[in-house]
């Protein structure tokens, strides 16, 4: 197992190199001269040239890539052009805001989404299921920023229960987290429901019933334990992608998180901020996916044993795998 994690951590390195490359390519796509764009049309030719030199834009692409990678390896993520503050420490400061938003958003959506999904799956062909599906579909189909605005208007302006923006105390977190969680909750509920239905069709559920187990035990022990595995994947994906999705929530509620930092950077064409910001968020994302995969492997004995058994009996007895392996080999041949 440790070997597997180590291998996955090693895999992070080429991934990060790749991300750095993609980020630089994106920046290279900027129409026109970035230095000119930065300084505006009033700048003189010398000023532009000076800035080009400063940003290293005169160097060939590969040299810039190499320098970027080298600096990052040394822990130097560059400094913002606008504020002159180092990107890394700036992001570290803002990180907790985004983290709270993403973590609570994911927790909300999980603790609500999973029971709703199970409930719907247990009540198929009834109005309860139809209602649950329909509501979750509406949640998925709603623009989250719009819903956030409606909530602000209702809870903040009309009822004045909650602050409409900014984070002063815990109350300020409620609306942003709910706004984050709503669509994700619906996504998780839908996934949970369809996986549950799929599992309930399996033979081993019939086996469990024919042992005389109570329906409760069949559903919550046998079915849920299997159905939750793909849902974990989805939750991991949700968690990761909300790192990007938090951007819009942060803008709406004026939360000084990573998303807003990058957004400002993008608006100002603050290249060091964009480069390093995207790289750091993507690395976080990759680490989260890694954690999910490891959890996945721990939950599912079939995957778990792939990494532990190898040591125990090396290439020895294979269980009914011969046909399958032949087929797999066949496919690659």
């Amino acid at each position: 197992m440790l070997k597997y994690i180590g291998k996955r951590l090693l895999m992070l390195i080429p991934t990060m190199l790749g991300i750095a490359l993609v980020v630089l390519i994106i920046i290279d796509l900027t129409p026109g001269d970035p230095a000119r764009v930065l300084l505006g049309t009033n700048a003189t030719e010398e000023q532009v040239e000076e800035l080009r030199e400063e940003l290293g834009l005169n160097k060939p692409f590969l040299v810039r890539y190499w320098e970027f990678v080298k600096n990052v390896c040394q822990g130097n993520f560059g400094s913002s052009i606008m504020t002159q503050r180092p990107v890394f420490s700036e992001m570290l400061m803002r990180f907790r805001y985004t983290l709270v938003l993403v973590v609570f958003g994911t927790i909300f959506s999980t603790i609500l989404g999973i029971p709703i999904g199970i409930y719907a799956a247990n009540h198929t062909h009834t109005w309860k299921d139809s209602l649950a599906i329909f509501l979750s579909l509406i949640c998925v189909s709603m623009p989250s920023f719009w819903f956030a605005l409606l909530m602000i208007r209702f809870f903040g302006v009309k009822l004045q229960w909650l602050p409409i923006s900014g984070i002063e105390d815990w109350k300020g977190w409620i609306l942003p987290c709910v706004a984050m969680a709503l669509g994700l909750m619906a996504l998780i509920a839908r996934q949970m429901r369809s996986d549950m239905l799929e599992v309930l069709r399996q033979d081993y559920i019939t086996t469990a019933r024919s042992k005389g187990l109570s329906e409760r035990k069949v559903v919550y022990r046998h079915a849920l334990k299997n159905a939750i595995i793909p849902v974990i994947m989805v939750i991991g994906g949700v968690f990761g992608s909300s790192l990007g999705g938090s951007l819009i929530t942060e803008v709406i509620f004026s939360i000084p998180g990573l998303g807003q930092y990058i957004m400002t950077g993008l608006n100002n064409r603050d290249y060091p901020v964009i480069q390093s910001g995207i790289l750091i968020i993507s690395t976080l994302f990759a680490i989260i996916i890694l954690i999910v995969d490891v959890v996945f492997a721990l939950v599912d004995p079939r995957i778990r044993s792939q990494y532990t058994r190898r040591k125990k009996n090396k290439g020895g007895k294979s269980d009914d795998g011969t046909g399958k392996e032949a087929k797999k080999a066949n496919a690659t041949a």
Binding site: G315, T322, A326, A329, N330, A333
Partner: protein, 322 residues
């Protein structure tokens, strides 16, 4: 005259992470026009891979294949195209071997289209004729496979294989997915067609009663190797290899009372990945001795009856006991 098909020391290994998987290891046989070779063995013994390798649906690892006296082990592209017209295959599962998006007529016509050189009207006429030959009513021409039952679907598979007038057909468990009464219909059809058109079958199956019924000669495979090969009646009358004996005795016979003694073999099939030299059955064989860890030679017991067991002569006289 050269036999229709001659196979010498054919090998097919698949690459796997754990090492080479010996799917077919050193198989040698010949097959004459109009004859049927039955290939039996349990799952994972390489019998299906053997058929697919002969048809070049996967590459040959080593060995030689001759078709009508000509070496076809590594055919050129144009040669392969010709070959495939003469060598066809009927698949096991009539549910998955037909493209669900093609109607019965389209599926049967496809091989003709691929061969080319026929007008559309001719192809349609030929399709009708083929459907008639295999006993499919004309009204099914525009049906989709999923609308038909297993027996009819298998008839489509047969019609497809017949359409190019092949000389050799690999039948990969063509009836094992069918119910007995339908199975009998399809077997009869295949026998009729063989009588009429004189092609050779290689009949791959795990069902020994079917194979005895349809084959002239039977080859028993275990983990990629041929352990015994003999004319059909000879094999059942004088089984030599301990594995063949166990296999034959394991078939439940639909007869009551049934006094045949079962020979139970211990354990289960092992992995064909990186096998040790020597007899692969030795690990489960009650007569295994030291000599069994040496590679086994194929010996001829009576004309046409080959066995790969170093102790077969001693074993002839041993009565199996439970």
């Amino acid at each position: 005259m050269a036999p229709l098909l001659e196979v010498h020391n054919l090998k097919k290994y698949f690459k796997t992470k754990a090492g080479p998987l010996h799917a077919v290891d050193d198989v040698t046989f010949t097959l004459d026009t109009g004859k049927t070779l039955g290939v039996v063995g349990e799952s994972g013994c390489g019998k299906s891979t053997l058929g697919r390798t002969l048809l070049h649906l996967t590459d040959v690892t080593d060995g030689k294949i001759f078709f009508e006296g000509e070496d076809i082990t590594y055919p050129s592209r144009s040669k392969l195209k010709k070959l495939r017209e003469q060598m066809q295959i009927i698949f096991q599962d009539p549910f998955s071997s037909l493209d669900p998006r093609m109607t019965v007529g389209e599926a049967i016509m496809e091989p003709l289209k691929m061969r080319g050189g026929m007008s559309k009207a001719d192809m349609q006429a030929k399709t009708k004729e083929l459907m008639d030959t295999v006993g499919l009513a004309a009204r099914f021409e525009h049906s989709y496979p999923h609308e038909l039952d297993g027996g009819r679907r298998q008839r489509i598979g047969i019609a497809r294989a017949l359409s190019l007038d092949p000389k050799f057909i690999v039948c990969d468990e063509p009836v094992s997915a069918l119910d007995v009464s339908i199975q009998a219909q399809v077997i009869n059809l295949m026998l009729d067609l063989q009588e009429e058109r004189g092609f050779a079958y290689m009949f791959v199956t795990h069902d020994l009663s079917v194979v005895k019924y349809i084959s002239d000669e039977i080859m028993v495979m275990y983990l990629g190797q041929m352990v015994e090969k003999a004319p059909s009646d000879e094999l059942f009358a004088n089984t030599l290899h301990p594995y063949s004996k166990a296999l034959l005795s394991a078939i439940p016979i639909p007869k009551y009372p049934n006094n045949t003694k079962r020979i139970l073999i211990e354990g289960e099939i092992t992995s064909p990945i990186n096998p040790k030299p020597g007899c692969r059955f030795a690990a489960r064989c009650r007569y295994a001795c030291e000599a069994c860890s040496q590679p086994q030679k194929l010996e001829e017991y009576t004309p046409g009856h080959y066995v790969a067991c170093c102790r077969y002569k001693e074993l002839i006289n041993i009565k199996e006991e439970m």
